[in-house]
Symmetry: C2
Subunit: 557 residues, 2 copies
């Protein structure tokens, strides 16, 4: 049987546009010989629709759109993720479902049984669970239909079994011939092997061909990597679709199971390549899906803005990116030189706007109220906010998306200025720790030739090698107020991502004074993160929708 | 039996501080003759703890703290909301529970059965549900223990029955003598009667005295109003505790059921008084719980900042509030006069900082890049951002909390400048529609004498009467770009709070062009709200944690 996988990029809520994308993919795969076509989870409305589901007409609009799509489906069936209205007055208003469409109508609807309600997922807020998986009999085959989490019952969330039902085990007792899974599974940096294992294990448990079709694209913070796969009954991978881009593929199975030997290669690329691809996709989709062709950012000469500029140039095209150097009276010459060199290397537009006059005017205006008080963080923040003001003026005037350049380490400890360097519509590397920023920058340089088809270093050597500094006062370095980044990042990973307490970190060998200082800063700066731009998620626990810490709280672990 | 209600104000995560508050209240109520003492839901850790629950030691720390509290409990039992660790490896890590403490130990733990997972609540993310309510036999009485939502099973959420179990019905079949409910039920403007009905209905269903103890205090966006009540077996209210402040009360029941005839008066105060009290509490608790004694805000001479200044003066004391007029070259004289008059009326500090120099410097710096382009929103935003920059400099220098003054109508349509007038740590009236801002301001003036003990108008008449304007360009008024506020607010309520679509609103008689324009603006400005300060919630649907709309989305209803 030839199965068509439609790994397509949809826009949340864009029912008309998604319809066209679905039908285009369907027709293309049918013409390539597909005998059944599989789409991702909630492909009709995009994922995650979040509280759009509470708009009174949303679910019926999605259903109506799905029926209109079904009307275009011919002899080759299509399995399409959509929202099915709950026909009863009990429980949530909808099911997260798969429409099995054939010859103009929806002949069966399969409901998602396991509703993820952790991290970035709130499905218990929206959906009523199905009681068990659905089996459709079609063309002499018994086809098991599952949706995303349904095949993840055995995962350990907080080292616990979350679910009472295991849909895969349930289907294993039903002698099915084919297992389909529609997914919208966002990528993060440790997910690849886990996901492949679940698909493979499901194939083995049900002893049948198992085909998994995942979303691709960036939707706000979430980055869907695609990488749809098919596994044979023995669990071996027989096909793998592209990572981080749309892909349509007809998977031929049966006698020629080994026909596609290298296809699961996409799961094997290095982690840094994955992160880079994910961030490029995230910038491109956030910008393009919200109508921006162009982006701009401040270039400090430092490594964070250099990395973001490089990603933006790849995502949007160098001609659509503007870098702006915003020196103050205390900015070093190397900051300006390194920024200009980076812009040259990338081929992006480059401008210099001095903040000196704006800062001087603001300080002069404040002088009567500030008289007699020592200079402190207030004056440092004026510099950062003058930069934000000028960059936002450019964003408003030219219709360009301002990108913020702060990394996860800075954002964690509040080493950033609210309404200053935190200004911007998208935080490109806010889930990338500083040590990863270095690693990614070195990797980019090493791969520059391959990526851009020309030799030479992209990110200036001095940008990578120099001592990091915010340059908000003379001779300042990051390490005046922070521990070395290797130490800081390790503490932050433990404290934020792993939920460890101060006691645990000290017991693990970190210096107690440093641990207390870092933990205190993380807690204290929740208010800044509350007002941060949405940030692209690349780890199991990013700041943003997946991490919900009260602002005013006093827990000391 | 004499039941002590401990309606106390806790701080999220402050286990040591909350312990002291609990034991102080316990001892006070025991000395007043209580024979059992009832506390609010999750009182040991504060509500809502959110993802603090995922910190590895949090649940065990709360359990340990609760055991330490229990060790101080004597012959008079106390029922205390806490997190009970889930002893199995299945399901979520904890139960939202009530510890029945007596003579030094926890003698029973009752688990919350219904876990609200809508609006601001994410309890399915954190807790495993109890299978049925718990009954404790104590002193010859059968006491039913429920937690908050457990008595709300019959509520209509989105006109639906969410739950399969009704703990009240279950208890009604168990012949109990006393029903206790521990709550952390945040206030909004239509909740009073609903809540009273549920307590009363539960009393009638179980045919016994029903005592409901609610949290009080502001925790980030949420405002808990207290208003604990006791209802007799016939459903009549026999005691009601204070609204929006701490209250300890021993409720005497039995023969003298009518002993407290006027106590449920707190439920009957006018809605505007409730809103005012709620906002005052929200400002006070947000500031004090996060360590701020002082606040500041920009005073434009307009009604929004006048209302926020009035609330802040009441919350923090006039001597702790600073109002700053930030005129531009196009600000009208009445703006400055009205701002000064307001500050005089309130008795708050008042300063004037011209933004002219900072704006001129920024525009001069941008001139080479802006040359030849017409003036537009970019220049208007520079003014708003220069104000934000100066206000934040004052906030940083003096350690004062900056309050933002935007109302819900503005925030809905994006009639505000990100990093400009949106700067601030707390959005005091971001859930108050503009027409309510007028109503509340008039109500404040009418009640000024009663509230402040002296005659005269607080908010200047001209501030209330004048045509609203952002004054970002000459002769601008809000109605240049927005429909009249009465129309705008009605459309916004339908579109945002009621989930109506454009079609529904047009069918309801609103002008189609206006409806499309307003809906478009609401959708387009999700990115601004993503970066807004936390806002005090006073309606069933506020911007913030209770409303989760994707930023990049294209649904047109």
């Amino acid at each position: 049987m030839r199965i068509g996988l439609a790994q397509i990029n949809t826009i949340v809520g864009d029912l008309a546009g998604n319809s066209r994308r679905i039908l285009d993919a369907y027709r293309s795969l049918v013409s390539d010989g597909a005998e059944i076509v599989l789409f991702p989870e909630l492909v009709v409305c995009g994922y995650p629709p979040r509280d759009l589901l509470f708009k009174r007409r949303f679910i019926t609009d999605v259903e109506q759109t799905t029926r209109e799509i079904a009307a275009q489906i011919g002899d080759v069936p299509a399995v399409i993720g959509y929202t099915e209205a709950n026909p009863t007055a009990h429980g949530r208003t909808a099911f997260n479902a798969a429409a099995f469409c054939h010859r103009g109508i929806i002949i069966a609807s399969a409901r998602k049984c396991l509703l993820p309600t952790y991290d970035v997922f709130d499905e218990a807020r929206y959906f009523e669970p199905g009681l068990h998986p659905t089996i459709v009999e079609f063309g002499g085959l018994r086809i098991g239909l599952t949706i995303c989490e349904d095949i993840w019952a055995q995962q350990q969330v907080l080292t616990r079994q979350l679910y009472g039902l295991d849909p895969v085990k349930w289907l294993a007792g039903e002698k099915i011939d084919l297992l389909l899974n529609l997914s919208a599974s966002p990528w993060y940096n440790t997910k690849n092997n886990v996901r492949l294992t679940f698909v493979s294990d499901a194939a083995k448990a049900c002893a049948c061909l198992t085909v998994y079709c995942n979303s691709i694209g960036g939707n706000d913070e979430l980055l869907f990597d695609g990488r749809s796969v098919a596994c044979a009954a023995d669990g071996s991978t027989i096909a793998g679709l592209a990572a981080f881009r749309e892909d349509l593929r007809v998977v031929e199975v049966g006698k020629n199971i080994s026909a596609a030997p290298s296809l699961h290669l996409t799961y094997a690329q290095p982690e840094l390549a994955d992160i880079y691809d994910a961030l490029v996709l995230g910038v491109r989709d956030y910008a393009h899906k919200s109508g921006f062709k162009k982006a701009l950012l401040g270039l400090s000469g430092g490594i964070d803005s250099a990395l973001v500029a490089t990603i933006a140039a790849e995502a949007l095209g160098a001609g659509n990116v503007m870098g702006v150097s915003l020196p103050s009276v205390i900015s070093s010459q190397h900051s300006k030189d390194d920024a200009r060199l980076l812009a040259q290397n990338l081929g992006i537009a480059y401008h210099t706007l001095s903040i000196a006059d704006t800062v001087a005017a603001a300080e002069h205006t404040l002088q009567p109220l500030f008289a007699g008080r020592p200079r402190d963080a207030a004056e440092e923040n004026i510099q950062a906010r003058a930069r934000g003001l000028l960059l936002m003026a450019l964003s408003n005037k030219f219709g360009s998306l301002l990108l913020t350049t702060g990394n996860k380490s800075e954002l964690a400890v509040g080493y950033c200025t609210l309404y200053g360097d935190m200004c911007g519509g998208l935080a490109v590397i806010s889930d990338v720790f500083k040590m990863q920023v270095y690693a990614l920058s070195r990797w980019i340089n090493e791969n520059a030739e391959r990526k851009l088809g020309r030799p030479g270093r992209l990110i200036p050597r001095n940008t990578i090698d120099k001592v990091p500094s915010a340059e908000l006062r003379p001779n300042q370095t990051d390490q005046d107020s922070l521990p070395p980044y290797a130490v800081l990042d390790a503490i932050l990973k433990g404290y934020i991502e792993d939920g460890l307490g101060r006691r645990d970190l000290i017991a693990a060998g970190f210096d107690a004074v440093v641990v207390h200082d870092v933990a205190r800063k993380v807690d204290l700066n929740e208010y800044k993160r509350k007002q941060a731009a949405p940030g692209l998620k690349i780890t199991p626990l990013a700041f943003g929708v997946g991490r919900r810490i009260p602002i005013v709280q006093k827990y000391v672990s």
